[in-house]
Symmetry: C2
Subunit: 391 residues, 2 copies
């Protein structure tokens, strides 16, 4: 058994995305103790960086020591008590996962369903709230990673709050790629993932809880299901000042990496990062459309960082992705759930959202596709993308 | 806000321990997708390496994507159903945490208590089993990180199984430092941590479940509390062959590191690693005793990798640890729980279990202690330790 030496890939799937070399370097820095004063100082900086990313002053803003799925569970486990009625907006895979989380926390689910590839319909949420006066929580996915659609958080937030409910938002794929304005939007609990538009390695989940959410957590009548994710305990470790109570051993090196990812984001500035994601999306889109590929999501709701396109009739999904991986070391995403075999998901997330990747992906995809399907116009994809950059 | 550049420490606390440079290097290798065929190949290797570490053929042997505490919760969440009666042996902090996990999984706890610094008493377990015919699970800590004591798994395992109960074992601090023989000892569920005697960075928890444990998991009447830790779902991702079902995004780079840690362990060989831990412990012990420091745990039950000694009367715990950290960049562990302020825990775990660290720690500690307490015999600590190596 020998050391594992991974190949060098270009990661343009739904995440992990290409990791910035500075982040890999940070990951390999010397490990120190999780209660070391220097580590505690880093934790304080990281909390304030996560606040910047979420655009929030929420005191309870920390990275959960596990992947985004655990961030999701942290929100539900801490805010749902047995018997609580929770409205979940489902328009893709991750809404479905939210339902599972509510059920396991002992809650009762009211589902508002929208088709895959469509945003959450506020009218349906309004109706469901009207029909269920005892809903305590509303949960929605801001950027559905399975479909590439953005839903409007502000509308749903107003509806939830006017109903006296709190709002949980999944920002796994949105954070860093498009605006995520926790305070302005009045979001009560939000989670993201390290491996999408933050371009960090997978394994951590930044979360933030509003004061109202903390109040609800503190007034719980029952213990949180999960000891590991119980924020009333985790807070003792991530709390203010020098006094930190040991809860679990923090993933020291991955936290260095997350810190570095946020430092890079702050150096660029959120607005510039959003503009970069937009620009590269427009270039990629021009190229994909020049190849005759069609977007799944209406322009208005399209995520710049996750481009879902229909696989053309007669094209072998797995064969194309395999060729891209084996001959170009390029990963694009397969379809998930009802989109399996029907859709490709091309990510332009964080460090992977670059002119280099757009042009590389378009030329590779055009070359590979043209072997099974005559190109509309050879070289047009790259030309169209270049035109966007030169405009 | 700038990059965080941690100091270089010598980590001789209760973990994280000094990380082998090859592991840090592995951590920084290029990130690839969590469904990449090359990654899947690495996962298969890692499973077999974890089996080697645990000395088991258990098919369900995987790393949980979160720290040891989540590994603990994985065992309890998957094996405890509401109303199940669980016997927990408590002789330190981590037995207490097990109780919390049982309660949150809806189980009923029967506690067998032993004093801090003493091993679990099999007679008490026998009596408790006799008094509670409906106990379905017995849980114990093999190596109590809070006290440095080893308990005999074989005895408790026989008692549990003759009663028809399954056995959960905490091997967070034992794995790699002393024998952990899952199949020979007939352990049904076991978890460890990456950051102790494996010398990997913190954040991952190798676990293994026997066929009997898997059968119980499969025959559950209720869903597992935690979606993230539900092994019936996680197994779909870590299962055999090329078909892997997406569950959560695996922490790709930390898994490279864990793989490397196990490759290093296998290169050395388990028996040699155990012998090395023993030898360095004997040398450290000779030095500490030459300084007049007394071990908390009886010789028979002492863990070589975690040396708990009483803080001498009149010595300021925090001041000594601070001086060691600031002037020597050396971390030793504070006491936890009832041992806070009374005990130091000196770790000799994995890569940190070396002649260099033993001699460095003894000379630093003697120098610092001699400022507040006249040494019994100057230089004796290092001499005594050196004699052990030269014997």
């Amino acid at each position: 058994m020998r050391s594992f030496l991974p190949p060098v890939r270009t990661l343009m799937g739904p995440g992990p995305s290409d990791v910035h070399p500075r982040i890999l370097e940070a990951l390999a820095r010397p490990t120190i103790g999780h209660l070391d004063p220097q580590f505690v100082r880093m934790m304080d900086e990281l909390k304030s960086l996560i606040q910047y990313g979420f655009q929030t002053k929420n005191e309870l803003t920390i990275p959960v020591s596990a992947p985004g799925s655990a961030g999701m569970q942290t929100c539900f486990d801490n805010l749902v008590e047995p018997g609580d009625k929770v409205l979940v907006c489902q328009n893709g895979v991750f809404g479905g996962r939210m339902i599972e989380n509510v059920v396991r926390a002992g809650g009762e689910v009211v589902i508002v369903e929208d088709p895959w590839g469509k945003p959450v319909d506020p009218q349906k949420v309004k109706d469901a709230l009207k029909a269920n006066s005892d809903i305590k929580l509303v949960a929605m996915v801001h950027a559905e990673t399975s479909t590439g659609v953005e839903s409007d958080v502000t509308e749903i937030s107003k509806l939830a709050h006017s109903h006296g409910a709190l709002l949980i938002v999944d920002a796994v794929t949105s954070l860093g790629g498009i605006p995520v304005l926790v305070d302005e939007w009045n979001v009560d609990a939000i989670y993201s993932g390290s491996q999408k538009c933050l371009s960090c390695t997978p394994g951590l989940s930044p979360v933030s809880f509003s004061d109202e959410a903390v109040a609800r957590l503190k007034s719980r009548k029952t213990k949180v299901n999960s000891w590991f994710l119980d924020l009333s305990l985790v807070m003792g470790y991530w709390g203010e000042g020098a006094k930190r109570t040991y809860h679990h051993t923090a993933p020291v090196n991955p936290l260095y990496a997350l810190h570095e990812a946020y430092v890079i984001l702050k150096e660029e500035g959120l607005e510039n990062a959003w503009a970069r994601h937009k620009k590269n999306h427009l270039a990629l889109r021009a190229g994909l459309e020049a190849m005759g590929l069609e977007f799944v999501v209406d322009e208005k709701y399209r995520l710049p960082q996750l481009n879902a396109v229909s696989i053309p009739e007669g094209v072998d999904d797995a064969a194309i992705r395999s060729t891209l991986l084996n001959d170009y070391s390029l990963e694009i995403g397969a379809g998930l759930g009802v989109f399996a075999g029907k859709v490709w998901r091309i990510g332009l997330m964080g460090h992977a959202s670059s002119r280099k990747n757009v042009l590389f992906c378009l030329s590779a995809l055009e070359t590979v596709l043209s072997k099974v399907k005559a190109p509309i116009s050879k070289g047009a994809a790259v030309d169209k993308a270049a035109a966007v950059y030169n405009a």
